[in-house]
Amino acid sequence: MTGRRVVRAVVFAALFVYALISLYPFLWMVSGAFKSRSEILEGRFLPRDFTLDTLTQTWGRLHFFDYFLNSLKVTGLTVLGVLVVYSLASYAFAVLDFPGRRILYWFFVALLFVPGITMLLPVVILEKQLGVLGTHIGLVLPFVNGTAPLTVLLLTNAYGSIPREMREAARSDGASEARIFWSVYLPLSRPAHVTVAVLTAVPTWNEYVLTRVSISDPSRYTLPLGLESLISSEVPRYNEVMAASLIIVIPVIVLFLFLQRYFVNGLVGALKG
């Protein structure tokens, strides 16, 4: 019996150690955000003079409130676009019958294999020609398109799992295709839509690569660009950098805590597909 107890203790110890490793950079992020500039490069974990000034200054004087709004706008529009465009398309792939359906479906899903870097340069060149480079719409369009494979996969599965009889019943009541989609399939697939929304929102919120090469006007910066502008100065003020990082990370953590099971379902579902 004691042998089993020792095993349990070891298991718990190992689990706690890895929990600490998981949290390690967050703990320092939080501690750094509440330190003053004079203290930031001392190795102490707990701030000697706990200060809120760093956070309030980063939020206000360093324009992180503006960046926050920009990020919110880009992320919101992307999620909206993804849900509108691909719920329609996935409905067609899942239940409608039309020539080219299978080919189109596999086409969208196969895009998973095209690396982002392969598309990045032509997208930037195209947007320059169209005159949307450097605008928020210029970010939203490729972001929406970029989620196509995963979203189509998840939503087509979700719509496909709704019993066909429901559609037939609605049809015999004289409902149009649009009506069936809107009043039967959309309400029944709420969980899948939330999953798609969170799986789109989080990477969009954190997106850095395309944003970095397309946005040059600081008034259009999103949070990751604002953060980068802090660190590119000669001697980075890590207390401000950590405060800015905290501002980026907190909304994501809150979203995760409330919608945890949708993250989990989405990832497991995506892999099964």
Partner: protein, 308 residues
């Protein structure tokens, strides 16, 4: 939401038109952002251009040849970045599996605190991005938390006076560990869902039959987890070929190219060469990466099929 025009009078509309009306927005977006860009990118890989002159100079497959062996500067650069990519591609998924499988088994064996710990383990995945990379940079600085920790534990010899990212010998291993740190969450989650799908009766039956734990692991658990492992490795390989954000944010390929990877090289050729005619080269490298991704996926799928 847009009502597709096909919906209003379904009886007069042929069915196929309704289908196409639903997929139209997706196709329109894809035609502009996908087909056109893929086509022009492919075309560009056969030309030389700096992004400013009105015309492209067609050079055939010269860009590919330059990258693979012909150019005395680019080819060695590609080889070094390729070697680094290969190391990341092999080591990161391997370590991820080595950590997340025992972690999932341990997590599956406890009841108390399981939900809390699972959330904590998942955090690195949700927050992965620029913010967390900067937090890692902060703790890895020469005077940062990790060096301080090592010194206070009496492991001062392991501390890195130039910082872990400043030393050519430790920079790439450090980045690999951070990549592992951010991919362990998903892997653990997948293993955990696999383990929970195992029928508990199976274990009991095996125990009654007197099967050794080693056999239970090899005969019952592992066959169930093998496809999950394949998926994790595939994901890791794909992320390594596609992703370079961590390399861009944390080291920009430095010090001295020791953490350069292929995607980062393509990024540099795309956006940081000023007036030099490198855009075609960047495109060519992007397509080489695409080819590698497809080949590796096919190889992986074959292996999966054989295993089954």
């Amino acid at each position: 939401m847009d009502e597709p025009s096909g919906g209003r009078s379904p009886r007069r509309w042929p069915g196929w038109l309704t289908g196409w009306a639903f997929v139209l927005p997706a196709i329109a977006l894809f035609a502009v952002m996908g087909v056109y860009t893929i086509g022009s990118g492919l075309a560009l890989s056969f030309a030389k251009w700096n992004g400013f002159t009105p015309t492209w100079n067609w050079v055939g497959i010269q860009n590919y040849l330059d990258l693979l062996y012909a150019d005395p500067v680019l080819a060695p650069e590609l080889r070094r970045a390729g070697w680094n990519t290969l190391q990341v591609m092999i080591l990161a998924p391997l370590l991820t599996v080595a950590i997340s499988l025992p972690l999932a088994v341990a997590l599956n064996s406890i009841r108390r605190l399981r939900a809390v710990l699972r959330s904590v383990y998942f955090l690195p995945y949700v927050t992965t991005g620029v913010a967390i990379y900067f937090a890692w940079r902060y703790v890895l600085e020469p005077d940062g938390a990790i060096n301080t920790l090592l010194r206070s534990l009496g492991l001062g010899t392991l501390a890195q006076p130039q910082g872990f990212l400043g030393n050519p010998d430790t920079a790439l291993p450090t980045l690999i560990l951070i990549l592992v740190w951010s991919s362990v969450p998903v892997a653990t989650l997948l293993y955990l869902s696999g383990l929970q799908a195992v029928d508990p009766n199976l274990f009991e039956a095996a125990q009654i039959d007197g099967a050794a734990p080693r056999h239970v692991l090899r005969r019952i658990i592992w066959p169930l987890l093998r496809p999950i492992t394949a998926a994790i490795v595939l994901l890791g390989v794909r992320d390594t070929l596609h992703g370079f954000q961590i390399f861009l944010v944390m080291t920009r390929g430095g010090p001295g190219g020791h953490t350069d990877v292929l995607a980062l090289m393509a990024y540099r050729l795309s956006f940081f060469k000023g007036l030099a005619q490198t855009l075609g080269l960047a495109s060519a490298l992007g397509w080489l990466l695409f080819a590698a991704a497809v080949l590796l996926t096919l190889a992986n799928a074959r292996m999966l099929r054989r295993v089954r």
